[in-house]
Symmetry: C2
Subunit: 226 residues, 2 copies
């Protein structure tokens, strides 16, 4: 299944524990893909452990590395590589990417470029990247235009990480781009919220709720957007 | 003439004085295009003045704005929009671009995206962008890989601004990219230097020498690369 058709992605954190039973429930939820991703304390080792646990779930597998050491290609369908457009430091836009290109063998045919805007200043990713989060819908939409027209990014990811965001932002972004796919992630823990953001986003991402409410949240959120 | 075929560009600074006779000599030099560009003290007014002076020179005209206020489209063939990949502040990679997209009517079919690496820390552009200039050829080449493969930039611009650079850098970049055009600018004031950098760069840019040695430097540098 090509990633361009995904409507619902489940994000799993290598630094968190998940059981075999929970993985079976995720696999049965009709989510379109698994994204292995975390901001803090992700290592090649716990990433490999999570990979081993989910590799037989029958779902497309992606990795979204927070730094070059976790850009794993083996057994992975796609590597979604983020750039945080509203970061406070260039490391998160071009710097870590340069380190990666200098030292790694990159399978570019597996790379999907993601332009992120991080909107929760209190999240791990907000703090790490020193993201400037106080942005109007028009400002986020302007970042999306730059992502699409200037940088040719196939994905624009509105990341509220752990907090449910402003649907007006997602709507403004969806109206600003044409080719670039709009991803929304953050605080989706019900079918209602999935439907609200899924009206404007091409793809919604459910992450924390899997750990907090349990995998049963997936069926509900999948149903709301498909 | 499509910009992709240009081998030699003459860069003129709106903040500097140039006579009608000098413009006639530039026009006769067989340079491929004029780029109106400066880092400091460029205003819509002095840009318009320079435009009026060169519009009848019979050469393709481009503007390379240092900030959104100077992104002029009227009467211009292309607007070359830089992003400084090794800048010390995100404003020069995504921030000013976002401001531009938020407030301007952009003719995207005239925009050419330029990934810059600025390598002279004492130049105006080096100081303004707080560029991290202490980079090996391999590091600059890694930026070029990111520019081409991650950000799909059509131009990678090695900018030594006012100082003649290291040909090993230009060679490493030319070996690292395939589709992206390699631009070299900085300190070219003789046919010999033009030939040395032109061996690896697709396009060389002559700027300061036009003001220092006079436009006669153009014929010599054009001849060396064509």
């Amino acid at each position: 299944m090509r990633w361009q058709t995904w409507r619902h992605i489940t994000k799993l954190d290598p630094d968190k524990v998940i059981t075999k039973e929970e993985i079976a429930e995720i696999a049965a939820s009709e989510t379109d893909a698994l994204m292995l991703s975390g901001t803090l304390d992700v290592t090649p080792e716990n990433l490999a452990q999570l990979y081993d646990n989910v590799r037989d779930a029958g779902l497309p597998l992606t990795v979204e590395p927070a730094d070059p050491s976790c850009a794993r290609f083996a057994g992975i369908d796609y590597v979604f590589v983020p750039s945080v457009f509203n970061a406070g430091h260039p490391a998160f836009i071009t710097g870590l990417h340069k380190e990666w290109a200098q030292h790694a063998e990159i399978q570019w045919d597996k790379v999907v470029q993601e332009a992120y805007v991080v909107l929760n200043p209190n999240s791990s990713v907000g703090r790490l990247t020193r993201a400037k989060c106080d942005l109007s819908p028009a400002e986020v939409a302007a970042y999306a235009v730059i992502a699409e027209k200037y940088y040719a990014m196939p994905v624009f990811y509105i990341e509220y990480s752990g907090m449910y965001g402003d649907p007006a932002v997602t709507r403004a972004v969806s109206e600003a781009v044409s080719q670039t796919r709009v991803y929304y992630g953050g605080g989706i823990n019900s079918g209602e919220k999935a439907a609200e953001m899924g009206e404007y986003a091409d793809t919604i991402i459910v992450g924390n709720a899997v750990y907090e409410a349990g995998p049963s949240v997936l069926k509900e959120t999948v149903k709301a957007v498909k």
